[in-house]
Symmetry: C4
Amino acid sequence: MKAANLAPLKKDFVTALRIIAREGLSDAFAHLSARVGGGEMLFMPRKSPALVKASELFVVDFDKAVPQSAVHQAVYKARPDAGAVFHFHSERVILLTVVGETVRPMHNYSAIFYEGVPVFEGAGQVETPERAADIAKLLGSSKAVLLRGHGAVVVGRTVREAAILALYLEESARLQAEAMKLGKPIYLDSAAAEKVAKRTFKPASTERAWEHYSAGVKA
Amino acid sequence: MKAANLAPLKKDFVTALRIIAREGLSDAFAHLSARVGGGEMLFMPRKSPALVKASELFVVDFDKAVPQSAVHQAVYKARPDAGAVFHFHSERVILLTVVGETVRPMHNYSAIFYEGVPVFEGAGQVETPERAADIAKLLGSSKAVLLRGHGAVVVGRTVREAAILALYLEESARLQAEAMKLGKPIYLDSAAAEKVAKRTFKPASTERAWEHYSAGVKA
Amino acid sequence: MKAANLAPLKKDFVTALRIIAREGLSDAFAHLSARVGGGEMLFMPRKSPALVKASELFVVDFDKAVPQSAVHQAVYKARPDAGAVFHFHSERVILLTVVGETVRPMHNYSAIFYEGVPVFEGAGQVETPERAADIAKLLGSSKAVLLRGHGAVVVGRTVREAAILALYLEESARLQAEAMKLGKPIYLDSAAAEKVAKRTFKPASTERAWEHYSAGVKA
Amino acid sequence: MKAANLAPLKKDFVTALRIIAREGLSDAFAHLSARVGGGEMLFMPRKSPALVKASELFVVDFDKAVPQSAVHQAVYKARPDAGAVFHFHSERVILLTVVGETVRPMHNYSAIFYEGVPVFEGAGQVETPERAADIAKLLGSSKAVLLRGHGAVVVGRTVREAAILALYLEESARLQAEAMKLGKPIYLDSAAAEKVAKRTFKPASTERAWEHYSAGVKA
């Protein structure tokens, strides 16, 4: 893919980072990537999502190790439908993992994750391709996987979808934690959740949400 | 009603949407409507409350289905006193519904809902006129009804009142949740609550609150 | 007291209102007053603390009923040391009252209220001079009294002190609520709390806090 | 050390104060210091961290008592590796201390404090060199010590590190409190925590975090 063709993707990429930063899903650490075809992905340097510039993004193939790239590359190899991967460390997602819980379907947004959100139990950072492959395997066909004491990895068909799913995941984790504090959460079974997801999680809804969150963002 | 006459209503309508967005009661999804007489309502397109413009509002009659209109139309048909209907998905309101609770009178604002706040148990979105009619029936003569795992519908005599009631409902839900965490909430009985409501919820108070929340809003 | 002499007091008064609004202790409803000598107080109209202007403030004597004035007048009559009275409805203060609790000394700020913070059990608004006198009597020599399901009244020697005490009271209520959620709060006994208060609550500290909170405020 | 040489340190110092203020770790009260060699430290006047100017900073030796200096001086004497000391009163840190808890390793940031975070049980302010020496002794070789009902003291090799560690400590305290509310936190043992810390807490990571938090700060 030629550099000129990447300009719109880079704009979405940086906008997604700014949204994530503004909505409180990251501090200085979070990494987004986007598949660009030909076994390659657009990736970012080790820099705060609030500060990365489009001109600093770069393309790297799935077999070349660069800092923080392993989990992204492993997911693209395992999931042909993955167009973007977002790895972040938001507070409520981490909270659920350190008490042995995960996001479960209860409302319109959490129902979007009806395939289940597995939790990878290894603590600490992702460093090796082998560990990254284990995470991708655990992810399976889900939209997200949590990493205990660490954060989450979300998979979208596009950068926009990955960003919006990250917001929905964190909101769902917040609801899950609050509901657990109050007593007996009423969960949706898998079939009911899938039904809700089919009505709630449509491309047009993602576009509406993207329009909302990207308003006023400087990318 | 002629278009020229709708200008002040449209201004209040958009202001109400901005207030709701700024106060955190909606993300990209929430829908407001206002009765304009003659079996018609002013309604909004599928767009974030933070972004909708007055020029995008439109009038639709109570029997024509447009996206997201069903619950609004059903409420106007059932409630001649309804001048505005607001449907939104705020966090604490949803929280109560997923643990089988609702807003109950405890303080000056929650007492305003002394008629009770019923909870509609069907999960997911409102799609059919039949389902919308069921929700309107459950609402009865109350100021608000909650939808499990989904959100709330609030009814006001005016757009301003509906917006302020939405804020009071979410604050009341937050207080209810926090009080439940701490142990034994002291509820007001219905008569005491009604007495408080009569002193607290007056048109002049709504105007004072509207003046407060609309300060600095661009509509 | 001549109007010209009131200018500095009016500036502090409006600054205090803005601080309270910005720090989240009030929505559209809260009332501040300041003793001006001769059985009179400076008072405000029924308007949001975020919007009241210095030119709208007025002087009223302790026996003339104007809207919302009763509790202020009752406190000045009962407490010769009261230079300012602030009545507000912040979330955590209300929370404690609806579960039968009050602020208790645990840390440097809550210790300032070592005389105890009584709770007035009558729900709803303060309307009559008799009821206001009951509240003033319950207040006794304390710095604050809570009103169940309603809010708090704080007494300071100056407007600045009343504003800072209001902030400390709400922060203390938040800490109290959070500590109760976690299990067994370690309270300070009255003597230990008084000792902490003597070191923590000095005029110079109030001035430092005032300088901090009033920075950037438009009054 | 000559005054001219202190300019970069003063810039970092004031930037650190602004970060702490903006991130909600202090109100008007918090004190930072930085070792400047020769048994001396750079220190600040009694003024809000949001308002102190570089021109107000001053150098004082470890044996001269100035207001609020005791704990800083005691730590420098006890810890040759301490380049900066930060004493603050953030909400979640205080919360843990008033329920008899402390920060414990659970996630990437809390693991950084794998040496343990002791709690000093004496309530109230630090006033005497003797009491300050007791706190420094309790600190031992840890990165932080908590003071019951009061706040925390954090030690960094540099001003930047002390500021970032303060942010990590407060976030860790928030996670600890939330996890305790939900039931059974899964703690990391000391060896696992140290392993995580070695990968997470590197000078390059501190620089990345500093770049993130200092963006847009006026110092």
